[in-house]
Amino acid sequence: MTRKQKRLSVIAGALVFLGAATALTFYALGQKASYFYMPADLQAATLEPGQRIRLGGLVENGSIVRGQGTEVAFGVTDSEETVKVRYTGILPDLFREGQGVITEGTFGADGVFVADSVLAKHDENYMPKEVADSLKEKGVWQETTQ
C-alpha cells in the first residue's frame, strides 16, 4: 500500500467507527428515552404494553395506602385524572400528600401503574420541573416564590 492508501484506510476505519457509534446512539435514543406523562395526557397517548414511561403529578390527598411490608399504593393526580400507582420500597424523604412526584415504571394488566422508582426531591421548595410546568399550564399550581 502506498502512504496515501494507508492514510485513506485509516480514515475510512475511523469513519466506519464513528458511523456505527452514531447509529447506535440514535437507536438507543429511540428505544431507551422514556416519555413523561401527566395522568390526563394518558388518554391521548398510545402506549405499547410494557412501555416504560414516567408519570408525574401530585400525590392525591388521602390516597396513600400502606400494604404488607414495604408495599405502598397511592394516587397520582393532576386534578383532572388520577392514576393509581403501586410501589414496593422505601419512599423518598420528601414524599408527602399533595406534593409533586415523578414515578417511573410500566402499566400492569390491571391498569395500575407499577413504579420501580419514585423520584426524590432534594429540597422542600422544589417541584419536579416537568410536573411544575404541566401544572402551571393547567393553572392548577403556581410557583410560590419567597
Partner: protein, 664 residues
C-alpha cells in the same frame, strides 16, 4: 466590612479588564513593558477576589443576616464547619469560588511562567483575563453575593440539609479546581492560535496544567459520587444524572487531551487536534457550568432559577466557544502539521484512545442535551437515563479498556503488536483465569460479572506488566532490575498507576453491579436479618436532638456467628425544622473492601416500634472510589516527572503542590 468585599470584587473586574487588553496589545506591538503588565495585574486581581471571598466567608461564619445570601442559606445554629463551607453551598458563593479559582490559576501562570516566551505568556494571561471579566460581570450583574437586606432578619433560612455534609465541603472546590484548571489549557490554545505558532514545547507547557486539572477533576467527581452514595440514602454511586454528566464530559475530553498532548510533546504530531481538544475540554467545562448554574436542570445544584442568569451564562458560552472555534477555523490551517507515524505504534494507540474517548464524550453530550433540545423544539418531555448510556457508553468503553494495556508497551513510530501480545501473555492468562474462577466458583456470577472481573484484572496486571518489563524484571539480575525499576521515569509510574486505578474502579463497579445483595423489610426491635452471611440485629429506635435537627436513630448490631454483637451501625431519619425537611442518614459499615449499607424508611404506624429498613451488601464498593484515588496518585506522580520539572518550565512543579488555600 461587607462593602469592602463588594468593592474588592469591582476592583477585580477593572483589573481583569486591564489584564484582558494591555498584555494582548503589548504582544501585538512587541512592547515588552505592556506585556509585563499582565503578571502583576493578574496577581493583584487574585488578591482582590481572595479578599472578596474572605469577606463573604466571614459574613457566613458570623451569621451576618444583613446579607441576602447569608440569610437565605445559613442559620445561627448551624454547626460551625457548615457555616464555613456554606459559603460555597449556594449559587452566588459558588460562582465567587469559581472566579477565585480562575484567578488563582491565572496568578500561578503569572508567577511560575517566567520561562515562557514573553508574547505567549502575555497572550495566555489576556485570555484568562477575558474569561475572568465575563464571569466577574456575571457575578456583579446577576448573582451578587453582597446584596444587602434591610432590615436584617434575626434568623436565617438555613442551608439545604443534604448540603450540610463534609462531602460538600470538599466536592465543589475540587471539582472547580478541575473544571477551571482546564481554562489554562484553553488560554494556551487560544494564545497559540493568536500567535499562529505551535510546537512541541507548547505541549510540554500545557501538559502539567492538564494533568493538574485532571487530577482535581477526578477527585471532584469521585467525591461527588461518594457524597451521593451515602447522603441520598439510595446507595447508588452513579445515576447518569445530567448534572453528573456535566462534570463527566470535561473529564472524558480532558483524559483524551492528556493522552494526545503526550503524542504532541514526544513526536510533535497531532498538534492541531490537541489544540482543538484543549478548546473543547474547557468548552465542556463551560457547558457544565451553564447546565448546573443556569437552572435549566433541576437538581440539588440548582439553588435558584433566575432566567437572566441562564441567558447570561449562555451568552458567555456562545462567545467563548463560538469565538475560539471560529479562531481555530481561521488559524488552524496556518499551523504546520506534525510528524507521520505508522497506524500501529504508540501514537496510533493514543489516537485510538482519543477516538474512543471523544466519541464517548459525544454520546454523553447527546444523551444529556437531547431531552433539553426535544423539549425546546417540540415541547415533549422525555428523559434519557441509564438504559441509554448502558447501550451507548458501555460498548464504547469496553474495547477501549481492553486495549489499554497495549498502549504503553507499543513502540513509538512503528510498533509490533505480535511482540506486545507476547509480552502480555502472562497478564492475559491470569485475567482469563480470573474469568474462569469467577464464573465457576462464585455463586450467582453472570457472564458479565466474570468478563468484567477479568477485564479489571487485565487492566491491573497489564499496568504491572508494563512496569516489570521496563525494569527488565526476569531478564536481568534482581539487583539490576531493582535499580532500573527505581530509576524509571516518574511518568512511567504515573501511567501505570493511573491505568491500575482504572482497573480497580472497574472491579468495584463490577462487584457492586453483579454481586450486590438487597433486602427491604419491616424490622421489629430485636429482629435479626441475615444478608450475605452477615447477621444484623435491629436494636430499636431512639430520638436524638442535634444542633439544628432532630433525629430518630436506628441502632443495629452486627452479630458474630456465636450471636455476640461486635459492631454497631447507626442509621437515622433526620428532620430539619427550619426547612421542614427530612433527610436519611445512611448507616455504613466497611468490612474489608465491601460495605454494609443500612437506610431507614418510615416507622410503621402500629406502635410496635417497627421500621421499614433497606439493607444492601455492597461487595468491593470502596474500590470504586479507591481506584480513583490511585488514578489521582498516578497523575501526581506523573506531574513530578523530571521532564516536567527540568528544562523549559523549570518551576512548573508548583502546580501540583498547590495548597489551594481556598479549598480547605
Amino acid at each position: 466590612m461587607v462593602e469592602m468585599g463588594h468593592f474588592a470584587l469591582v476592583l477585580a473586574l477593572v483589573l481583569s479588564l486591564v489584564q484582558s487588553l494591555v498584555p494582548l496589545y503589548g504582544a501585538h506591538k512587541g512592547d515588552a513593558r505592556l506585556m509585563a503588565v499582565g503578571g502583576p495585574v493578574t496577581v493583584t486581581g487574585f488578591a482582590m477576589i481572595g479578599l472578596s471571598f474572605t469577606v463573604l466567608t466571614i459574613a457566613y461564619v458570623q451569621s451576618d443576616f444583613s446579607l441576602v445570601n447569608v440569610w437565605e442559606n445559613s442559620h445561627s445554629l448551624k454547626p460551625m464547619i457548615y457555616k464555613f463551607t456554606g459559603t460555597w453551598g449556594n449559587h452566588e458563593g459558588s460562582m465567587l469560588l469559581w472566579v477565585l479559582i480562575l484567578s488563582f490559576f491565572g496568578a500561578l501562570v503569572a508567577a511560575f511562567g517566567g520561562n515562557l516566551p514573553a508574547t505567549l505568556k502575555a497572550n495566555v494571561l489576556a485570555v484568562q483575563g477575558w474569561i475572568g471579566t465575563a464571569f466577574l460581570l456575571f457575578i456583579l450583574i446577576t448573582s451578587n453575593p453582597f446584596a444587602r437586606l434591610v432590615p436584617a432578619p434575626i434568623e436565617g433560612k438555613d442551608l439545604n440539609p443534604i448540603l450540610q455534609d463534609i462531602g460538600l465541603a470538599v466536592h465543589p472546590p475540587l471539582l472547580y479546581l478541575g473544571y477551571v484548571g482546564f481554562s489554562v489549557c484553553f488560554s494556551f490554545a487560544v494564545a497559540a492560535l493568536i500567535e499562529g505558532r505551535i510546537d512541541a514545547a507548547w505541549a510540554r507547557w500545557v501538559r502539567p496544567w492538564t494533568l493538574a486539572a485532571w487530577v482535581f477533576l477526578t477527585g471532584g467527581i469521585s467525591m461527588g459520587s461518594y457524597w451521593a452514595y451515602y447522603e441520598l440514602g439510595w446507595g447508588g454511586f452513579w445515576f447518569w444524572d445530567p448534572v453528573e454528566n456535566a462534570s463527566f464530559m470535561p473529564w472524558l475530553a480532558g483524559t483524551a487531551l492528556l493522552h494526545s498532548a503526550i503524542v504532541m510533546e514526544k513526536r510533535s504530531a497531532l498538534k492541531i487536534w490537541t489544540l482543538l481538544l484543549a478548546i473543547l475540554t474547557f468548552s465542556l467545562s463551560l457547558l457544565g457550568t451553564f447546565l448546573v448554574r443556569s437552572g435549566v436542570l433541576t437538581s440539588v445544584h440548582a439553588f435558584a432559577s433566575d432566567p437572566s442568569r441562564g441567558v447570561f451564562i449562555l451568552g458567555i458560552l456562545t462567545v467563548f466557544i463560538g469565538g475560539s472555534l471560529a479562531l481555530f477555523a481561521l488559524r488552524a490551517s496556518s499551523l504546520t502539521a506534525g510528524g507521520i507515524f505508522h497506524p500501529i505504534s504508540r501514537e496510533g494507540a493514543l489516537v485510538l484512545n482519543n477516538l474512543f474517548l471523544t466519541t464517548a464524550t459525544a454520546t454523553v453530550l447527546i444523551g444529556t442535551l437531547y431531552p433539553l433540545v426535544v423539549e425546546a423544539l417540540f415541547g415533549e418531555k422525555i428523559s434519557v437515563g441509564e438504559p441509554f448510556f448502558n447501550l451507548t457508553f458501555g460498548p464504547l468503553m469496553l474495547p477501549l479498556l481492553a486495549l489499554v494495556p497495549f498502549g504503553p508497551l507499543l513502540a513509538w513510530k512503528r510498533g509490533d503488536v505480535a511482540a506486545v501480545a507476547q509480552r502480555l501473555m502472562f497478564a492475559f492468562g491470569a485475567a482469563l483465569l480470573v474469568v474462569l474462577v469467577t464464573f465457576l466458583f462464585i455463586d450467582g456470577a453472570s457472564v458479565f460479572a466474570a468478563l468484567g472481573s477479568g477485564l479489571a484484572a487485565w487492566l491491573v496486571l497489564g499496568a504491572l506488566t508494563d512496569l516489570a518489563l521496563k525494569a527488565g524484571i526476569g531478564n536481568v539480575a534482581p539487583k539490576v532490575a531493582l535499580r532500573r525499576f527505581l530509576g524509571l521515569p516518574r511518568s512511567v509510574f504515573g501511567t501505570a498507576l493511573a491505568h491500575l486505578g482504572l482497573g480497580l474502579t472497574l472491579l468495584g463497579i463490577v462487584g457492586v453491579l453483579s454481586f450486590e445483595k438487597e433486602a427491604i423489610l419491616v424490622m421489629k426491635p430485636g429482629q435479626v436479618l441475615e444478608i450475605s452471611s452477615h447477621r444484623l440485629r435491629f436494636e430499636g429506635l431512639q430520638p436524638v436532638r442535634g444542633p439544628n435537627f432532630t433525629e430518630d436513630q436506628g441502632r443495629f448490631s452486627l452479630l458474630s456467628p456465636a450471636g455476640q454483637p461486635f459492631a454497631e451501625i447507626m442509621s437515622a431519619k433526620r428532620f430539619y425544622p427550619v426547612r421542614q425537611m427530612p433527610t436519611t442518614e445512611a448507616g455504613i459499615k466497611t468490612i474489608g473492601l465491601s460495605q454494609l449499607y443500612v437506610s431507614l424508611g418510615d416507622e410503621t404506624t402500629d406502635g410496635s416500634g417497627s421500621v421499614v429498613v433497606r439493607v444492601w451488601w455492597k461487595p468491593l464498593v470502596t474500590l470504586i472510589w479507591g481506584g480513583t484515588l490511585v488514578m489521582m496518585a498516578g497523575g501526581f506522580v506523573s506531574l513530578m516527572d523530571r521532564r516536567l520539572r527540568v528544562g523549559a518550565p523549570a518551576k512548573r512543579k508548583a502546580t501540583d503542590k498547590k495548597p489551594s488555600p481556598v479549598a480547605t
